[in-house]
């Protein structure tokens, strides 16, 4: 359940408010996870979530239905998060691409069962070191979107996305043991 709250002084625009409410109801949890893929610090992540919600709310004024609500929502959310990453980039270590990770991925060094919390931490850290576009694809993939939907969000061609997904699967399988549910 999403925990976005509003009260009666919230800006009124029936269309925008309705779309925003629907998006939050349907994708609110995914947006929280998306923010977690971009920022590790809880306080900063809260700010990022606020930014994402603000931009999302503002963006619905221009929503014309030419793409799905889901595509629109994730496009706005990713763009906001990417801008955030660019702002924060000066303080962070450099980001890497999937290709680079794939070429340096450990082989045969799989860890045995690790606890869930640590595994999630590893996965999150792994995502956060990716370059923005690769990160978008990785997060969308983990949200179980197909290549066409990811292509629509990122603006890449489905073939290109397919290739990146192939890399992601390879990296995940080498780092996180089994990885077999997704195509």
């Amino acid at each position: 359940m999403n925990n976005v709250s509003r009260n009666r002084t919230t800006p009124a625009s029936p269309k925008r408010d309705q779309l925003y409410a629907t998006a939050v109801r349907e994708f609110g949890r995914a947006l929280d996870r998306l923010a977690a893929g971009y920022e590790a610090d809880p306080e900063k992540r809260h700010d990022l979530r606020q930014d994402i919600h603000l931009q999302l709310w503002r963006s619905f004024e221009g929503f014309d239905g030419r793409c799905s609500l889901k595509t629109w929502t994730f496009r706005v959310a990713h763009n906001t998060a990417v801008s955030y990453v660019q702002r924060e980039r000066r303080k962070n270590t450099r980001l890497v691409g999937l290709e680079e990770i794939e070429s340096t991925a450990p082989s045969g060094e799989r860890e045995p069962d690790i606890d869930r919390e640590r595994a999630l931490q590893q996965l999150s850290e792994f995502i956060r070191q990716l370059k923005p576009l690769d990160r978008q694809i990785m997060i969308s993939y983990l949200e179980e979107m197909d290549a066409a939907a990811i292509a629509e969000i990122t603006g890449l061609s489905p073939a290109n996305v397919g290739m990146k997904i192939h890399r992601i699967k390879s990296i995940l399988s080498s780092r996180f043991l089994e990885e077999k549910r997704y195509v």
Binding site: M1, T9, A119, F176
Partner: protein, 196 residues
């Protein structure tokens, strides 16, 4: 641990991560952004007025008692300019931000007004930067050959500060351009809000 254990299945692991505890409240977000806009506009205005007062002080001290009519006219113009701009901006300094729940004002309206206030502030770029830019151009003109007929005796000392003057002019020009660009961005946001 089963084969479908979340720790072994990245997507399941990703999708079942703990929920965020802190709430996202749209009203708070809009109010926070409005507050940020108000604070940045106010601090910019206060800094600008501080700089202007300093400029007036220096100008009056340096050129006021000189007895040169041209310098005294320039000095008076600077004082008038500072007085006019300060007068124009007084409301933006002291007016407290309206409460978002004030009568019949929605959060969006409150936010829009703050955007307009910031846009107006940014559009006043020439009020603050213009005279400085003009002063730089005049100094450059004097240095280049005194088209005003007043620079012969001071041309030599100006040689020393000319790189600084040119840098100042470029910086001022860039500042004006940046402010107008920001004003356009804010206007676009206002237009988006008004399309509803």
């Amino acid at each position: 641990m089963s084969e479908t254990s979340p720790s072994k299945d990245p997507a399941a692991l990703w999708k079942t991560q703990p929920e965020e505890k802190t709430q996202v409240n749209l009203e708070q977000i809009v109010n926070r952004r409005t507050g940020e806009l108000y604070a940045s506009t106010r601090s910019e205005i206060l800094m600008s007025i501080g700089a202007a007062v300093l400029l007036v002080g220096v100008t009056v001290l340096r050129f006021g008692p000189s007895g040169n009519l041209l310098e005294q006219i320039a000095c008076a113009l600077v004082v008038v300019w500072v007085a006019v701009t300060s007068y124009r901006m007084r409301a933006r300094i002291w007016r407290p931000p309206a409460r978002p729940d004030a009568a019949a004002v929605t959060g969006a309206e409150y936010y829009r007004r703050e955007l307009e206030r910031r846009r107006d502030h940014l559009r006043d770029a020439w009020l603050w930067h213009g005279p400085l830019f003009l002063a730089c151009l005049i100094l450059v003109a004097i240095w280049r050959g005194s088209p005003f007929g007043i620079g012969i005796s001071i041309a030599r000392p100006i040689d020393r500060v000319m790189p600084l003057v040119v840098a100042l002019a470029l910086w001022t020009g860039y500042g004006i351009w940046r402010r107008y660009r920001q004003a356009r961005e804010i206007q676009r946001e206002i237009d988006e809000m008004q399309r509803e």
